[in-house]
C-alpha cells in the first residue's frame, strides 16, 4: 500500500541510513557543541541549587506507562521480561525518598507509533534531564524549569556565537517567570481561533505548535484534566478531576519543552488511577510495595535534551539534534 506517508518515510529512511556521515558536517558539529554547552549549563545550575546527579537506571520490571500510545521496549532478562526505561519516573520517586533533590540525564526508549516519524518532534531513543524534588509543589518545579531553560539559553547565547551564526539562529531573550495558562484557558484560546480540540485529552501536536507560534514566548499549560496523563500525576483534592501538572512550551512553533507534575504518592490513589490506564497492578509489585510503606510527596519534570537542542539551534527536525537518531519504524545505524 503506497501512500504519501510511506513515500515520505522511505525518503527519511534513506537519509538516516547514512547518519554516521552527519557528524563530520560543520552543521552537525555546531549542533552537538550547542547541546554540550546547554547540558553543562543546566548541570551547573542544578548542582549550585543542591541537586545530586544520579546514574540513570536503564532497565527494570516496569517503566513509565504514560507515554501516549507508544510501546515499551522489552528485553529477555534471563527468561523473564524487563522493560527499557521509557522514563525514569518511578525511579525518581525511589531516589527522592532518600536524597531530596535529584536529577538524571536519563536515556529513554519509546517505540512510538509509526506516524510519529514525520512529526519532526519524536525520537524513539532520546535523553531527558529528569529531575525530582521532595516535598515540593508543582509551582516549585515550574520555577526550576523556567530557570533551567533560561540558563541554557543564556549560556548558549554567550558562548556559542560562532555556532549560532553558522546555524543561522538568533536566540531570543527569555525572562522568567513565564506565563501560565490553565488547560481550560488553553482549550478556550484555541477554540476562539477556530481550532477544533477535544476536551479531556492532551493538546494535539498541531494545536500545540500553533499555540507555540501565537504566544511568542515560553509559557506553561497547567492543570490538565484527569485522564490526559499518567497515573502518577497528582489530582488536586480541592478541584476533583484536575491534575496538579504542567507542560512548558517553547515559542516559535517548537512545541513541548518539559512535562512535569506533583506526584501521586498515596498507595490507594495510585491503585485507583492505575485502573484507568488498564494497567495490571501485579506488574508494579515493587513500586506498590514501596508506596504502601510510604514515600515523601514530590514534584518534578523532564526536559528532552534533543528538543531543547532543536529549539536552541532553530532546527526543523528533532532528529537533527542527535548522533545517529532512531525514528519510529526506521531501521538505521
Amino acid at each position: 500500500m503506497e501512500t504519501e506517508v510511506s513515500v515520505e518515510l522511505q525518503r527519511l529512511a534513506e537519509v538516516l541510513r547514512q547518519s554516521w556521515k552527519q557528524v563530520r558536517t560543520p552543521k552537525m558539529k555546531a549542533i552537538l557543541k550547542v547541546q554540550d554547552v546547554a547540558c553543562d549549563a543546566m548541570r551547573r545550575y542544578l548542582k549550585s541549587k543542591g541537586f545530586i546527579e544520579l546514574l540513570p537506571p536503564i532497565i527494570g520490571p516496569v517503566t513509565d506507562p504514560g507515554i501516549r500510545g507508544a510501546k515499551q521496549a522489552t528485553i529477555d532478562y534471563y527468561g523473564r521480561e524487563y522493560k527499557v526505561m521509557s522514563s525514569a519516573i518511578l525511579y525518581k520517586q525511589v531516589a527522592v525518598s532518600g536524597l531530596g533533590k535529584i536529577f538524571f540525564m536519563s536515556p529513554n526508549v519509546r517505540l512510538e507509533p509509526i506516524d510519529s516519524a514525520l512529526t519532526g518532534r519524536h525520537l524513539v531513543e532520546f535523553v531527558q534531564l529528569d529531575l525530582e524534588i521532595a516535598e515540593a509543589s508543582y509551582f516549585d518545579a515550574m520555577a526550576v524549569a523556567e530557570q533551567l531553560l533560561s540558563e541554557a539559553v543564556n549560556a548558549v547565547r554567550d558562548t556559542c556565537q560562532k555556532e549560532l551564526e553558522l546555524l543561522g539562529r538568533q536566540l531570543p531573550t527569555i525572562k522568567p517567570p513565564f506565563k501560565k495558562l490553565t488547560y481550560d484557558e488553553t482549550i478556550e484560546y484555541l477554540r476562539m481561533r477556530g481550532v477544533k480540540v477535544r476536551y479531556g485529552v492532551e493538546i494535539p501536536w498541531d494545536a500545540e505548535q500553533l499555540l507555540s507560534k501565537l504566544i511568542g514566548e515560553p509559557f506553561f499549560v497547567i492543570d490538565y484534566p484527569r485522564g490526559a496523563r499518567g497515573f502518577y500525576d497528582r489530582e488536586d483534592e480541592r478541584r476533583p478531576g484536575i491534575l496538579r501538572d504542567f507542560d512548558l512550551i517553547y515559542p516559535e512553533g517548537y512545541g513541548e519543552c518539559a512535562s512535569g507534575a506533583e506526584r501521586e504518592y498515596r498507595y490507594e490513589k495510585v491503585l485507583e488511577r492505575m485502573k484507568e490506564t488498564g494497567e495490571d497492578p501485579r506488574k508494579y509489585g515493587w513500586y506498590l510495595e514501596m508506596l504502601r510503606e510510604g514515600i515523601p510527596p514530590s514534584a518534578g519534570f523532564g526536559i528532552g535534551v534533543e528538543r531543547l537542542t532543536r529549539y536552541l539551534c532553530g532546527l526543523d527536525f528533532v532528529w537533527e539534534a542527535r548522533l545517529c537518531p532512531k525514528l519510529a519504524g526506521i531501521y538505521s545505524p
Binding site: 500500500m1 501512500t3 506517508v5 510511506s6 506507562p65 501516549r68 500510545g69 507508544a70 510501546k71 515499551q72 517505540l111 512510538e112 507509533p113 509509526i114 506516524d115 477535544r198 479531556g200 485529552v201 492532551e202 494535539p204 484534566p225 484527569r226 485522564g227 490526559a228 478531576g241 485507583e272 488511577r273 485502573k275 484507568e276 490506564t277 488498564g278 494497567e279 495490571d280 501485579r282 506488574k283 519510529a328 519504524g329
Partner: protein
C-alpha cells in the same frame, strides 16, 4: 389385552421414574459429585465442536423470560416512503432496493451487523480465520476478544493449530474490499501486561489500516452470560504452565491432578470516574482509533450509558444475558444479569432521546434478519452475532459465514421493505408491536391487543 396391560405397567413404572427424576436435578448433582469443579462448566475442551453447542443449554427453558420474540413487526397499508422511493427509482420499489449501508461505531458498514468479539477459547480461536475472511468479504466489522495475544501469541503461533492474534487481525484487514468494515480489539488486564493496544498502535503492518480509520479498541466492562466475571478458559496443564505468570489459575498446573485447569481472567474494576478516565486516556493515546465499550446486562446500565455517551465513545455494545455463553459457568448462565429485552427496557429513555454520535449495538441470542430489524426499530444502530457465525464457520468455513450473513441481509431487506421503508434510519418504534403489555409500555411501542 395382556400385552396392553404389560405395556401399561412398564409405561407407568417409567413415567413414575421419569417424574421422580424430573422433579429434582439429580443428574446435575450426580455430575457434580462425580466430576467436581469440572461439572461447573458446559464446556468440554476435548471436543470443541460439541462445546460450541453445549453453552446453548440455557435455552432449554425458553419461556423463563421474554425475548425479542415478544415483538412483532407491523407493516402499514399506507406507505409514503415507498412512494418517495418510487419517485427516486422511476419504478415500483422491491425489497432488494433496501439500502442497509450504515455507520457503526465510526466504521462504514455494508449492513448494521458485526461479528461479536470472540476471544481465546480454543473452539472460537480455531475457526477465527474463517470468520475473519467471511466478515471482511461481507463488509461488516469484527471484534477480537481478549486474551488472544496472551494465550496464542501476538505474531507467532504458540501452537500449530491455533492462529495467533495478528493472523486474525491481518486476515480480516487484507480481505476487506475498500474502506468499509473495521476491526475492534479488546485488551484484558492480562493483555495490558504485554501492552497489546500499544503494540497494535505501533505495528508497521497495521499502521496503514489505522490511517484509514479501520481499527478500534474495545474496553470490555462485561459480557452477557457472566456480567461481573472475567474471561474463563480451560487449559491443558502444559498451556497453563506457560501462562502461570500472567493469569490466575484454579490450581498450580505443575501439581494438578486433573488434565485441565481453569484460567480465570480478572473482570476489571470500574467506577464512573475510572471509566471516564480510561476513555480519555484512550482518546489521548490512540487518537486515530475508534473507542468501543462492551457492557454486560448490568442493573445500572442507564448510569453507565450516561457516562459513555457524555464521553462520546464511538460505540456502546450491550450483551444481554443470553449472549457470550461460549465458556461460562452454569451458575452464571442461570442466575446472573438481565435478559436482553429487559436491558433494552432499562435503557429505553436513552434510546428514545439519542444524543451525540455514539452507536448502540446489542447482542444475545440474535441470529436472523428479524432480530436485526426489530433492534433497528427500537433505535439501536446494529446487532452483533457470535454463536451463529461460529457455527457457520465450523460447518462450511468462510463460505458458510458469508452464506449465513447473506440470509440475514436478505431477510432484513424483505422485512424493512414490508414496512414500506428503504433506509435503516427510517425505521422507528411505530413499526413494532408487542405481545406483552408491560414490555410494550417500557419500550414505548404499541401493545398489539389494544
Amino acid at each position: 389385552m395382556k400385552i396392553f396391560l404389560t405395556l401399561h405397567r412398564f409405561y407407568s413404572l417409567f413415567s413414575d421414574l421419569a417424574e421422580i427424576w424430573g422433579s429434582y436435578p439429580f443428574r446435575e448433582i450426580i455430575e457434580r459429585a462425580r466430576k467436581g469443579v469440572d461439572a461447573m462448566y458446559p464446556a468440554d475442551a476435548l471436543k470443541p465442536s460439541i462445546m460450541l453447542l453445549k453453552g446453548a443449554n440455557i435455552y432449554k427453558h425458553p419461556t423463563r423470560y421474554a425475548t425479542l420474540d415478544e415483538l412483532l413487526l407491523l407493516p402499514p397499508a399506507f406507505t409514503p416512503l415507498r412512494l418517495k422511493k418510487m419517485s427516486e427509482l422511476l419504478r415500483e420499489p422491491v425489497f432488494t432496493d433496501v439500502d442497509l449501508r450504515h455507520s457503526l461505531g465510526g466504521f462504514n458498514v455494508m449492513m448494521p451487523v458485526m461479528v461479536a468479539s470472540m476471544g481465546s477459547v480454543h473452539v472460537a480461536n480455531k475457526i477465527s480465520l474463517e470468520i475473519a475472511r467471511g466478515a471482511a468479504r461481507m463488509g461488516i466489522p469484527m471484534g477480537i476478544g481478549e486474551n488472544v495475544a496472551t494465550m496464542w501469541g501476538y505474531s507467532k503461533r504458540v501452537k500449530s493449530g491455533q492462529p495467533c492474534f495478528k493472523e486474525r487481525v491481518m486476515t480480516y484487514l487484507e480481505n476487506l474490499d475498500g474502506d468499509v468494515g473495521g476491526v475492534t480489539i479488546q485488551q484484558s488486564v492480562e493483555d495490558a501486561y504485554n501492552e497489546l493496544w500499544n503494540r497494535v498502535y505501533s505495528d508497521p503492518d497495521i499502521e496503514p489500516f489505522i490511517q484509514k480509520g479501520l481499527i478500534g479498541f474495545e474496553i470490555k466492562v462485561g459480557q452477557g452470560s457472566k456480567p461481573g466475571l472475567g474471561g474463563e478458559v480451560r487449559l491443558s496443564r502444559e498451556e497453563a504452565e506457560r501462562l502461570m505468570d500472567k493469569y490466575h489459575l484454579s490450581e498450580d498446573p505443575r501439581s494438578a491432578v486433573r488434565d485441565r485447569v481453569e484460567r480465570h481472567s480478572a473482570p476489571g474494576t470500574f467506577l464512573p470516574e475510572i471509566l471516564r478516565g480510561m476513555i480519555r486516556m484512550m482518546r489521548n493515546n490512540y487518537p486515530r482509533c475508534r473507542i468501543w465499550v462492551k457492557l454486560g446486562p448490568f442493573r445500572d446500565l442507564p448510569e453507565v450509558l450516561d457516562v459513555l455517551t457524555s464521553e462520546g465513545v464511538d460505540a456502546v455494545w450491550i450483551d444481554g444475558r443470553e449472549g457470550g455463553t461460549g465458556m461460562s459457568p452454569y451458575a452464571s448462565m442461570r442466575h446472573l444479569g438481565l435478559p436482553l429485552i429487559a436491558a433494552l427496557c432499562s435503557i429505553s429513555r436513552q434510546l428514545e432521546s439519542r444524543v451525540g454520535s455514539t452507536s448502540f449495538i446489542v447482542s444475545g441470542r440474535l441470529y436472523d434478519g428479524g432480530h436485526l430489524v426489530k433492534c433497528l426499530c427500537l433505535g439501536l444502530d446494529g446487532v452483533a452475532f457470535g454463536r451463529p457465525v461460529a457455527v457457520s464457520a465450523w460447518i462450511a468455513g468462510s463460505r458458510g459465514v458469508e452464506n449465513y450473513l447473506k440470509t440475514v441481509e436478505l431477510e432484513a431487506k424483505m422485512l424493512i421493505s414490508a414496512l414500506g421503508k428503504y433506509r435503516v434510519r427510517d425505521l422507528s418504534r411505530e413499526d413494532l408491536g408487542c405481545l406483552d403489555r408491560d414490555i410494550a409500555e417500557s419500550l414505548g411501542v404499541r401493545y398489539v391487543y389494544s
